[in-house]
Subunit: 362 residues, 4 copies
């Protein structure tokens, strides 16, 4: 078991919420990819808490590229990018060193790391670490775009408020630039009301993100065991709070007959297409040329102000906890760019394996 | 990308539906595990089509252990187990060489392997290959059981007919021995009626499997990126027809407040437990000591007798196909033992990494 | 740690000397490579003991391809090839179950596998297993040849008798077809006399193999840590009895000045070449376009008829052993085709990573 | 192919000689290992050029631990350690951007990275990067020592001047602390005279390092393909300028009879030992409990002041080069601590795989 994603093109994350810096090392990237620092900054900005919907923690996300870039291009050797931590209020977490936050990683991390984990601000489990993930993906996304591959994630559902469905390719491209990524901007207010209502009550809400990818060629993936669904799900479950993933119809397949669910096929201008995309672009673990479409379920932020029953590990007794510190009443909207990012990294890896080390720069 | 599951303890599958044999190589298994051939046979029997709910293909599943076992125990060197193919009706598939079955892997495999794939009976994509997977897992399951780890999968839903929920540990153990694994035997008939109705109509049905694991210690998994959810989902998506997976409340988290969804904690006899198990036993990617619980969505079998629109790749024209050959109107019940098997392999791998090469035999 | 070589194109070996069969699984091979069964047989024949220089064990090496080949071409899915064991004299090894053969793997295997290893005939440590390795490589060698890549290994030294050096590319091609691979056939007799003299005395001899590869493009390898030297050496040390490897001048570099040792460069017809090849074709871990040249030291066969001091593990007392059973007085000549084979597999893996999954068939 | 060493415990290096910083990420390390910053500094000091035998480049090696350490102990999450670059004279390398240094990685890197590599000071191929490797190993060496495992490397040979052999365990421990690591201090002067003579002539010298490891239990390694020899050699070939490796007698085996070369065995106080250690502690790829002993050949530093024939890639014409810039007339003595470091990392990885994730801290 390891803390790296990808084989041909891999990313390792490091850092703790209140340590010196977080960062990522990207290995196996093609040489000669232009590096767009403004794009990296823009992606980090999408993830950054910036309004009353999120934690008041002020993150500047001023990154530093230590290696692997020369003269504005990737060199092909490992890239290390770091983001210093700032505005850390470690004192807020004193109580939480011993009181386990329910449904947070505090307790499972304690079991895994035996008390040596950096508990401040969630340590290595903090959503903060996803900034490094977003930065890493920002090195490969422009190269994917150049090949016609675009990835967009919208909020399908927050606390029961539903967005529209993807209608066309432009939707995917547009939504990947939004801070609060919905297709129907009219529902944004309703979702935000739900978030603010939860915040007012010291509570939190969850939701569902839907991601679509266009431009991936047919024939990517392996049957046993590196299915494209398996590779994507492996990565997406690392995004904090994700608890489910489904491709195409997903769980709704259970209610369908084969004759209703099958994606019937036709020839169009010499290409084979499907009338529907119930399989979400992957059949037998391998892409079929239709857009890849999947949804991820995000649980409500576990750290809440409401009092909850928990345990004090220093005394091994029952107690209660009403979390202080800064936390998000909802992370669904902020997680969209993170899901896009891990998807980009998985696809860049799979395509680099299929087409070779240099492909991403070609 | 590769066709192997696991790192410390790994399994590679090989074989095609109508080739000489299918099989598996298990590497990294501890030396000194007793090998129970009767148990392997019993597991294979659970997967085998055996009544009017399944394909009429008669599979004997007489396996042969070529290596890695000596004097009744694992030697610690790679085990190769093979299962010869028999009762293959390759002529049934002549038409399907050129006519792509909608929602089947025919077309994506063609794109991946460029026409060199063995198309007979689904080739390497056939559900038949899962027999080797089940056989491989049967080497580790008794060793896991000996340590108090049990894995059970029941049919939660077929075509809208629901089973009961897991109530206790014995349910998990009992259901792992059933051919038609439901907790409430009264619903079995209703599910089977749905299957037979679809069969009569040349159609098929899907469903949902729910898996529970007891006895896994807290502290297993990694935050980025080998979360236990990521490892399990990576493997489960290789089970043919799986299109979604969720842990604990999964997609229902989207409708919950944090205060409703969080698993509050208490001390019981010096151990830390949760009042609920909404997270399905994994928090922050790491086990918390509660049972691991997840559900997998299974799509309806894509090969159906009803006429469907498709393409003929030899002429690149539109056509229709009403599948002949032998096929299953439902694979949900047969997939249960396969999901249990991949789960067992993932856990044996994760635990061998955590506790060392020899642990599984200790 | 694992029993697999390669990442993009990988091979896993299985089997024991006196078990049902040995074999290999090849994963990640391109689809569409013609499979030449006569070539596989010819390669196996080169490795097979066939005269009074080797063990009298009669090995037929009748192989069976269970999967991954259809209509004479690789399908791109895992290939399993098996070779049944025959002519096993397990009774010869009764004494050796408890008496550890000095310098053989008996004792280290006992420590590794805790007594569960198949001790008959060396079990999984037998040179017999290399037949499966040779067979696996025979699937990729014709594809490499088609691209102008040829690998040849000659006996540089047996017991102090030296062969000539490689003079030209044809030498490499020619030597890869010989049963007793020397460049100067006049030295073969002298080497064989040394082998037979050792045999007569119940003793054994070692030697040095030299391998050359032509046709590898410049730019293959990684600086940290998958240097081409590191990848090749990792594999070559699995060939039984190899105890050293050196590239180009190797250990002779210690006696040279930089000005003597450096490979000075020039331009020839628009290509950059070196006047010498002291680096053996790899600089900074990466190929420079010159032939890859390396030597491997092979120790004398440890199983000998002469009496040696050893221990009896059943009584934990000192004893002596004069080995019975059939064994080789020298394995240097038989190892040549094995070193060629692992080299072919390493290169096919590295090139498949660099140029993509399908490259080997193009 | 990848730029990472190790699977269970892995290290990825990043950085270029004249970039912002070099560094390493260590993943998979046990939580709870005390971190000794003074020891890290002492190890870096051994590698640092510090007298007239080496480059005049002044390296401070002030490192910064960005993550993975909390309260003086490893947390078990990835450690990132960085070392800023200083005293870089990039202008010295202007000429060398186009003129390829013979036997240096300039040309093979150009082929690999297509001109996007950072050519300044050797970029990612600079021996400078080994500082990060030494720092990474310094996290695990004290933990290995605590378990009785010690690694020492001495200069066996520089330009033909020979050191004594290892006599006992204390030799190994003592030599691992020396800046100019010889067992017989009387030969140090003679070696240094050879180095200075070469320096005076604008030339360079090579040599041989010998490494011994004590305290490794028997039973570590795999037969196919992760032999301990294969794992160590894979890593050691990444140390710049290494061109050969041999275990125990190595290439001298070619001159021996089996009866001379075999390590005969005896029982001593209930333990099985060998009278000799010609196999260097590894048989069948697996440790046998004797010290691991191997030698590595180091070529003369390729960058020399003497004029050499080479090519100008900007004009694709023949030219000559007499290197300016600061370079080492010999790197053998400085490489000793690097070979110790990669050996420590390989062993820590193999032992963590065998005994589990937490073993190194126990």
């Amino acid at each position: 078991m390891k803390n790296t994603i990808g084989n041909s093109l891999s990313v390792t994350l490091f850092g703790e919420s209140h340590g010196k810096a977080i960062g990522a090392v990207i290995d196996g990237i093609a040489s000669g990819i232009p590096v767009d620092e403004a794009f990296i900054a823009a992606r980090l900005s999408r993830r950054r808490p910036k309004d009353n919907l999120s934690t008041p923690r002020q993150e500047k996300d001023e990154f530093s590229i230590l290696s692997g870039v020369f003269g504005g291009y990737t060199t092909g050797t490992p890239i290390c990018i770091t983001i210093p931590n700032a505005d850390t209020h470690s004192q807020d977490y004193g109580e939480m060193q011993n009181k386990m936050r329910p449904s947070h990683a505090d307790f499972s991390a304690l079991c895994r790391y035996k008390g040596f984990e950096d508990y401040r601000g969630g340590g290595h489990f903090s959503g903060r670490i996803t900034a490094a993930l977003v930065a890493a993906a920002a090195f490969v996304i422009p190269a994917l775009n150049k090949k016609g591959i675009y990835i967009g994630t919208h909020i399908k559902n927050i606390a029961g408020v539903l967005d529209n469905n993807f209608e066309n390719n432009q939707d995917i491209i547009d939504v990947s630039k939004k801070d609060f990524p919905v297709l129907n901007d009219a529902v944004a207010n309703k979702m935000q009301e739900k978030i603010l209502a939860a915040k007012t009550n010291g509570d939190s809400v969850g939701g569902i993100l839907e991601t679509a990818v266009i431009g991936i060629p047919a024939g990517v993936g392996e049957p046993w065991f590196d299915t494209l669904e398996g590779l994507i799900s492996h990565a997406v479950f690392s995004v904090p709070a994700v608890k489910g993933i489904e491709f195409g119809l997903g769980f709704d397949f259970a209610q369908k007959l084969g004759s209703e669910a099958n994606d019937q096929m036709y020839v169009s201008d010499g290409e084979i297409k499907c009338y529907t995309n119930n399989n979400g672009g992957v059949v037998g673990g391998i892409t079929n040329g239709m857009p890849i479409v999947f949804s991820a379920a995000i649980k409500p932020t576990p750290t809440i102000g409401k009092e909850q029953k928990t345990v004090d590990i220093s005394t091994m007794t029952d107690t209660t906890l009403a979390a202080r510190g800064r936390h998000d009443p909802c992370i669904v909207h902020r997680a969209a760019v993170v899901v896009e990012s891990v998807t980009a990294l998985v696809l860049a890896d799979a395509l680099s394996a299929k087409f070779g080390t240099d492909w991403l720069a070609q």
